[in-house]
Structures are given as structure tokens and as C-alpha cells.
């Protein structure tokens, strides 16, 4: 993990511990009725204090120590606030009695529900989750999303302010939490490799989430992330060029992650409540399972895509990405022409997006029509919004235009 800790240059030693403690202590304070932003500020101060005190006097229960010090800060803050407003001497400044410590998993879940409050915009949910649950520094989050640190600091403090005064005692929307974690994960895959490992962070948080809830979609999401993340070492070559799935050196895949992903997925599927993350994980597992690209079980993948598309009443409008993925599977199972016909249904919805053109380029290649593939890839390159992807698509276009088959 690059970058200095928010708590000072010497805080790295505390870092591992602190990242696990932050959500537990913060959850305890917020659960007790403290404002989210005040509680986080107080916790920051408590961590600073820990840096000074712990090296010589390590606490027996670090979480309890931090909670106590943070509570004292909150009381101090309320006292000075009370004085500032020239209120009565006897302003009620005593903290409520401490509650028994909840299990670690419960705290994480509770805090995720706070950070992924449906009233917050997705960018704020993501930032707050990484800050409060992930324990990343504001600078790290800013770097990961290519914005100035001051901008990210402002986004986080606005999000915290937006939570002020809202009741944070009801269970939140797990679907929003899952979406936020997936956003964090995908941001990690499109971002530059030398920055904060957002994908790894999302996996860590999803793993914690599965300890806190039996919901199969939480496990499905964790499985999906693991099964895709396993291929990360093969996704770029030494020059930073994108290597497509069918060309990857499969020996570079992380078999340990694949095994964990499959195990998690099986435990989710066994609950017989399939959702989109479980289905996408099943598709990823089938890709991971093939020793060579030619051994990919496309009929099975197509069957899962049928299930995925069936989750929406109007898949073309509600889930065009699933319909597009299915079209490619159709191309592999029933031939390029059939696959291209499936993509036609998406023209109105996705015709302006690079993905639609790239998928058609692939299908044209499957059908042996290199000139049509080249044109589709060139169209895709013009619409790409990511430099690595744009470069990749230009290469594919030039290769197909030169009449060279895919290798």
C-alpha cells in the first residue's frame, strides 16, 4: 500500500491494525447515536493519540481504548460547542452508556449500510466506504480516482454531512452495498496498475460482508470478484497492452483465487436463490475452468446468460450488457450470423458504445469476415473512453484490416 497514513508519517506500523479497528470502533460510536462525521473526526484524533501512547503502553483491548478516547473527544467537542453557544452550565454532555461490543461482522455490515445510504450519490458512497470502512487515506482515494486531494476531501465531508441527523439504525439496502463494492472493484480494474489496489480492497470488504450476512448475492459478488481477479496477472502484457481472454497465458492465472471463488460460488448457489452476481460468477468460473480457450464450455455459458437475461422484464433496456454478452455466447454456440442477429436488437440502446462495436467485430471474426471485423473495431476505437482499450481496438482493427487472423 503506497502513500503515507492519514495519521502521520510514522503511522505505518499501526496501519494493519487500524484498518480493521476503524470500522468496529466507528460503528460502535454511530450505533450509540453519535453523528457520523463527528464520530469519524473523534476517531481520527483517538488514532493520533494511539500513535503517541501505544508504543510505550500497548492497550489490552485496542478497540475499547479507541472507543473510550474517541468518546472523550466527542464529549470535549460538545462541551466547547455548548460553551460557544453560551448555553446552560449543565448542558447534557455525558455520553450514553457504552453498549456491549457487537460482533466484527455486524459492525462492518452496519457501517457499510451507513456509507452506502441510498440518499448519497454513487461517487460519495464509494468514497465514504473506502474511507470509513476500508480505512484508505483521502489521498489514496483521490489518487485512485484521479482527482485532487482537496476535491476528494470535500466529497467525503459533504457525504458525511449529508448523513448528519439521519436515522442510521434501520437495516440498509444490501443491493446498494453490493453495487458500491462492485463499483470499487471495477474502478480498480480500469485504473492504472501502480495506484491503490481498489480491486483488492473491494474483495477484502466483500469477504467481510459475507461474514456478516448469509445473503447468497453477497457471496456471489465475492465469487465474481475472485474469479475475475484471478485473471488479472494475464490481462496486460509487459508493455501494458490489453491481452484478451482467449489469448491470455492461463498459467498466469491465480489458481488459489479461482479455487476460493468456486468454493464461495458453490456455497451461494446451494441456497437456490440465484441473482445476477451469482450468475455472472458462474460464467466467470466456466471461463476460468477451461485449460485452453478452445475448451471453453460455451453452451453452458449460454445457458447461464439465458438465466441472466431472464432476470429482467425488458433486458434490452434494463440490462443491455447481459444481452450483449449473451450475443457473443450465441455466436460461439450457434454461429457468427446468429450472434450478430442478437446484437441487432441492441443497436438503439448500445449503438453509440464501443462495447457494442467491439462485440460485433469479434463476431465478424468468428464468421471469418475480417474486413467487416476491421470496420467494427475501428468504430469501437473511435468510441472508446479508456486509452488502453482504445489502443487495443486500434491494434485489432489494423490487424484485421491487414487480413491477419486472430492469434
Amino acid at each position: 500500500m503506497a502513500g503515507a497514513s492519514p495519521y502521520g508519517p510514522d503511522a505505518d506500523g499501526l496501519r494493519g491494525l487500524e484498518r480493521d479497528l476503524i470500522p468496529r470502533v466507528l460503528a460502535r460510536l454511530v450505533r450509540r447515536g453519535e453523528d457520523f462525521d463527528a464520530a469519524e473526526d473523534a476517531l481520527q484524533e483517538a488514532l493520533l493519540e494511539a500513535l503517541r501512547v501505544w508504543p510505550e503502553h500497548p492497550p489490552r483491548d485496542p478497540a475499547a481504548w479507541l472507543a473510550t478516547v474517541a468518546t472523550r473527544r466527542l464529549v470535549d467537542a460538545r462541551r466547547s460547542e455548548a460553551a460557544r453557544r453560551r448555553r446552560e452550565e449543565e448542558a447534557p454532555v455525558e455520553p450514553p452508556a457504552a453498549e456491549p461490543v457487537a460482533a466484527v461482522g455486524d459492525d462492518t455490515l452496519f457501517l457499510l449500510f451507513c456509507c452506502c445510504h441510498p440518499d448519497l450519490a454513487p461517487a460519495s458512497q464509494v468514497a465514504l466506504t473506502l474511507r470509513a470502512v476500508g480505512g484508505l487515506t483521502t489521498r489514496e482515494i483521490a489518487d485512485a480516482f484521479y482527482v485532487p486531494e482537496a476535491t476528494m476531501a470535500q466529497r467525503i465531508s459533504r457525504a458525511k454531512r449529508a448523513l448528519r441527523g439521519r436515522p442510521l439504525d434501520r437495516p440498509g439496502d444490501l443491493a446498494v452495498v453490493l453495487r458500491v463494492l462492485y463499483l470499487v472493484y471495477t474502478a480498480g480494474h480500469t485504473g492504472p496498475p501502480d495506484r491503490v489496489d481498489l480491486a483488492g480492497e473491494a474483495i477484502r470488504l466483500a469477504r467481510q460482508l459475507t461474514l456478516a450476512t448469509d445473503e447468497p448475492e453477497a457471496r456471489g459478488l465475492l465469487a465474481l470478484m475472485l474469479l475475475n481477479h484471478a485473471r488479472l496477472p494475464a490481462r496486460l502484457d509487459g508493455e501494458g497492452r490489453i491481452v484478451t481472454l482467449d489469448r491470455q497465458d492461463r498459467r498466469l492465472w491465480d489458481t488459489r483465487q479461482i479455487e476460493e471463488g468456486v468454493r464461495v460460488l458453490q456455497s451461494a448457489l446451494a441456497l437456490q436463490r440465484h441473482g445476477r452476481y451469482q450468475i455472472e460468477a458462474a460464467i466467470a468460473a466456466l471461463h476460468d475452468d477451461a485449460k485452453r480457450a478452445e475448451e471453453t464450455d460455451w453452451p453452458q455459458i449460454l445457458a447461464w446468460y439465458d438465466d441472466l437475461v431472464a432476470l429482467s422484464d425488458d433486458p434490452v433496456r434494463q440490462d443491455p450488457a447481459a444481452v450483449l454478452g449473451r450475443a457473443v455466447a450465441v455466436g460461439h454456440v450457434h454461429g457468427a450470423a446468429a450472434g450478430l442477429r442478437e446484437t441487432d436488437r441492441l443497436r438503439d440502446v448500445l449503438g453509440d458504445r464501443h462495447r457494442w462495436h467491439a462485440a460485433r467485430g469479434l463476431l465478424h471474426e468468428l464468421g471469418g469476415d475480417l474486413p467487416a471485423a476491421a470496420t467494427a473495431y475501428a468504430e469501437a476505437a473511435r468510441r472508446a473512453t479508456n486509452v488502453a482499450e482504445r489502443d487495443h481496438l486500434v491494434r485489432e482493427a489494423a490487424r484485421a484490416r491487414a487480413g491477419r487472423a486472430r492469434v
Partner: protein, 136 residues
Amino acid sequence: MPKYLLLKHYRGGPEPHHPIPPMDQWAPEDVEAHIAFQRHVVDLLRENGEYVDAQALTPTRTWVRYGGPDAAPVTTDGPLPETSDLIAGWFMIDVESHERALEIAAYVSSEPGPGGEPVYEWIDVREVMTGAPPEA
């Protein structure tokens, strides 16, 4: 040290040195060399301590203006959308002098094109005014 923006264009600017076909019509090796050169420029600027920023823009443009009170913003894709200037991206550099900025721009312009021949692309060199509010 002054900062300069070296602007690359999809279209517009002085008469091209010679016509360049779209990149998907280049030989794959030439595409490879061209992309590698772009990366090399960034590496070089970083090594020199002259790099500030490099960004690419998508070719999609929307002009927009205030629509008036209680009116939606007004948008258009502009006059002569097929021929007007269109910026493709930039390098921002922090260098000793105007001469150094021109030198780097000329190097950027020497990027290899079809057949490995330099593209001789026109680069638009603009000095960044000082005294702007700090970014972060």
C-alpha cells in the same frame, strides 16, 4: 519555470505535411510503433522532470450554452462538425524556456506513422499563464 500545453488535434490546424490515413488502415507494426512512441514520450518527460500531465480526449464533442432563466441548456455539435478544429489530447510540460517547449513539441511531432515515416503532425504550443489558483 513556465508550463506549456502541447495540443494534439484530430482535425484542424495548418495544412498537413502529408496526408495520413486513419490508423486502422496502417500496417499493424506501424500502429504498434506509434503507440509505443506515445508511451516513450511520457517516460522521457518524466525522466527529465518536465512532465506535468498527459490526457487523451474522445472525439465526441458537444457545444453547450446557458439556455436562459428556467430553460434547459442549449446544445449543438457545432458549426461544420466535420471540419472544425478538434483537440485529441495534450501533454502539459514544465520546462526552462519557450525554446525547450518547441523542441519537445517537435519531438512529439516526429512520432512514427505509416511505413515508420514521421507523421510531421502540427502541434499547437500554448503557454499556461501563471498565477492560476493552485490545483490542490
